[in-house]
Symmetry: C2
Subunit: 436 residues, 2 copies
């Protein structure tokens, strides 16, 4: 099995100003193509240390991926270090990358400075993979067996996370071009609403019966639920892919509607597929949102899906009670009697939003994200969520379901995220059950 | 200057399942007490690799901090590796940690198993720092000069982030007890609205004139702007801290209101400090939001600040034009004549939100986040943002400012984030200028 090391360069990581998230994405992508990651490291912006550290990594790994240290300012010296490491004699200009730089700067209305143009210059030992999302090109260095005792490749990627994400597929394809890699197929099943330990018990027998070439991994996430990744090794051999598909079918039987999707699906991305829409249905169903404690997050998650304007009409964030009362038509007595964090308020908000925004469905949240506030009966982490559905042929008829969530995290952010994903999951369940 | 290495142990990091956030917190704490972090690394749960890797780190660093690999399950073998590394003969029980284990398990209603009790057992070469938030004790190993050529200390901390955070102060105090440390001060200046290369030009002379003991680093971010970190080495020496303060004052003069804050400030966290509030002012100023293309993100960012309910009333996400017209009172003719993505529409949305939500200020966004849509005149990445201010003594009087943003990213998410941060920045500028 080919091995890889990942290295993030930047003083900002070593002083704890920035969390290195790139390495995690790169590690996942490498594992997916059958490369084992030996280690992940972060070092500072010091030329000699970069060179000696990368040299050591190239001695022990077939593939080295470096991120960061490619900006136009003078404290970024990765490119120079890579030129020295690879024995470059001079630089050459990547005209393709220069085009991207020119486009990006002109779109942002920024004047092209020599430092910007220099970003298109690479050591003559490098192959360029164009970075379409940023100004620094991705560089590939190929080292012969004579240099490190085995063929080795090194990729230098930008430090900006979305640029690195955007270039991952190209880099993985380039790695596949250099090495004969094992053939691994992955299928990821996304579940919501069951704790990891409970889930493990539910599928224990199924897991024990898996053939050797199928490997299961749990990918738990405190916010988005547990994903199960099934990997099929040697997928080119007869019957293995079919065995994997059969195992997944069994999993669906075992877990029922705790499964909300596969692969990169999210609770928000599966919603459009569950709504009725032409040509099968008479009209496009729509959704709306009323938020309190989630402060816009539910709406933001829904609109993060491209094309969501086809079914999403909008939301009201009613942070102040007067907005709940005046806009969403929550009766003042409901808040007086039950408080703003109550089943009654959540249900009234959902009804109010469906009417105000004129939608088929409406999701509502009202809770206590913390870190301060709350009481013994309703501690920080308590949230009521509700989903309303209007009868399209008699729009005064509205049905509502609601649930209490106890997130119980000390983190305001985590609580808000858990509230929002539970609200989206309730909408998903309502839509799925109606389709059944 | 004493140096440190940080090492996170766990296969889950190497397959990209978990992002190592602990190391960043530890690095920040070490820098704050004047220890230079040489490197951060992640390795897998393999005994021999743990031992050889930690040995190498102890040879090059005075301080090594290890996280992870201390759970009660069998794949966590850090403790055994540390026993071997430190030449332990046997284990001893930490009665203090056992008390914590007993308390935590009983609070969670879990029966004490032998594996749980064993967590209180440490190699006899270890000093224990009690972990009050979890079951695994923090272990300190002190190595004599004869072992690695210099005095070295190693701390083993739990992998659970909030347990590590909770024990950081104790570990830093223990390190201070072992070494006489240098004194480094950091100040981070947060800017928005100037590209890194332009910023570098603006402060070139200032940067060149910095004394040797002041070091500048650029921390660019495509969404939140560029932060400048100034570090002062040997801050205990006469005049250095004053020189740093003087340098920062000059920076304020050079960059003016492109600076929005310092340290961990964000565009949303500085807003409450800019709003008028009692006891200085007659009443608490409030803000509201109207969003289209940002889909709730502006509202979500504002509410991410604890205590925001004191000044934030809520928002309307008007994804559909009918919501813009019916709720925000945007004239239909505005949308017909200028389109929903226009200065006129953004301004009408801001006015409408200020009135509907009854706030002093309102921020509005309307644009094209992509990836599809847009035209030649208004390509993907175009957004109009506006901020409205109502005269508190004559609430029909509303002033509005607006700006066009060209984010020009291919990523829907990045465009939404840039639109939102620009909207918050416009609000910040409006508030700041009024205060001047």
């Amino acid at each position: 099995m080919k091995t890889a090391s990942i290295c993030a360069i930047g003083d900002e990581i070593l002083i704890g100003q920035i969390v290195d998230t790139n390495s995690s994405h790169i590690a996942r992508a490498l594992n997916a193509i059958g490369v084992r990651v030996r280690g992940i490291s972060s070092i500072g912006d010091a030329r000699s240390e970069i060179i000696s550290h990368l040299r050591a990594l190239l001695l022990s790994s077939d593939i080295v991926i470096v991120t960061g240290g490619l900006g136009p300012t003078k404290d970024d010296i990765t490119k120079e270090a890579l030129a020295a490491l690879s024995g470059a004699k001079k630089t050459r200009r990547s005209e393709e990358q220069l085009e991207v730089i020119t486009r990006i700067l002109s779109q942002r209305g920024i004047e092209m400075l020599p430092a910007n143009r220099a970003q298109a210059d690479v050591p003559d030992t490098a192959n360029v993979i164009v970075n379409n999302l940023g100004t620094a090109p991705i560089m590939e260095f190929v080292f012969k067996e004579s240099e490190f005792g085995h063929k080795a490749v090194l990729y230098s990627m930008p430090g900006v996370p979305y640029e690195t994400l955007g270039a991952l597929d190209s880099v993985m394809a380039a790695i596949r071009g250099h090495f004969a890699l094992d053939n691994i197929l992955h299928r990821t099943i996304c579940t919501f609403g069951i704790a990891e330990s409970v889930l493990a018990k539910m599928i224990e027998k199924w897991e024990d019966a898996l053939p050797d070439f199928l490997h299961l991994a749990y990918l738990p996430n405190a916010i988005y639920g547990v994903r199960l990744r099934l990997s099929c090794y040697g997928a080119e051999e007869a019957g293995r892919k079919e065995a994997m598909d059969a195992a997944v079918r069994e999993l669906y039987t075992l877990l029922g509607n705790n499964i909300y999707g596969e692969g990169a699906d999210t609770l928000q991305s599966v919603i459009p597929g569950l709504l009725q829409a032409p040509p099968q249905a008479a009209y496009q169903e729509t959704i709306g949102v009323a938020e309190s404690c989630t402060g816009g997050l539910v709406s933001n998650l829904i609109t993060s899906v491209p094309g969501s304007s086809a079914y999403y009409k909008g939301s009201v964030t009613s942070y102040a009670n007067e907005v709940k009362i005046n806009l969403l038509n929550v009766p003042e007595e409901v808040i007086e009697q039950h408080g703003a964090v109550s089943r009654e308020c959540a249900e009234a908000m959902a009804r109010g939003a469906a009417i105000l925004l004129d939608t088929d469905y409406a999701v509502a949240t009202t809770g206590i994200a913390g870190p301060d506030g709350g009481s013994e009966a309703k501690p920080v982490g308590t949230c009521w969520i509700a989903v309303a559905h209007r009868n399209p042929y008699s729009s005064e008829e509205i049905e509502v379901v609601s649930r209490r969530i106890d997130s119980a995290s000390a983190s305001r952010e985590v609580n808000m995220q858990r509230f929002a994903s539970n609200a989206l999951n309730l909408l998903r369940l309502v839509l799925q059950q109606k389709l059944l």
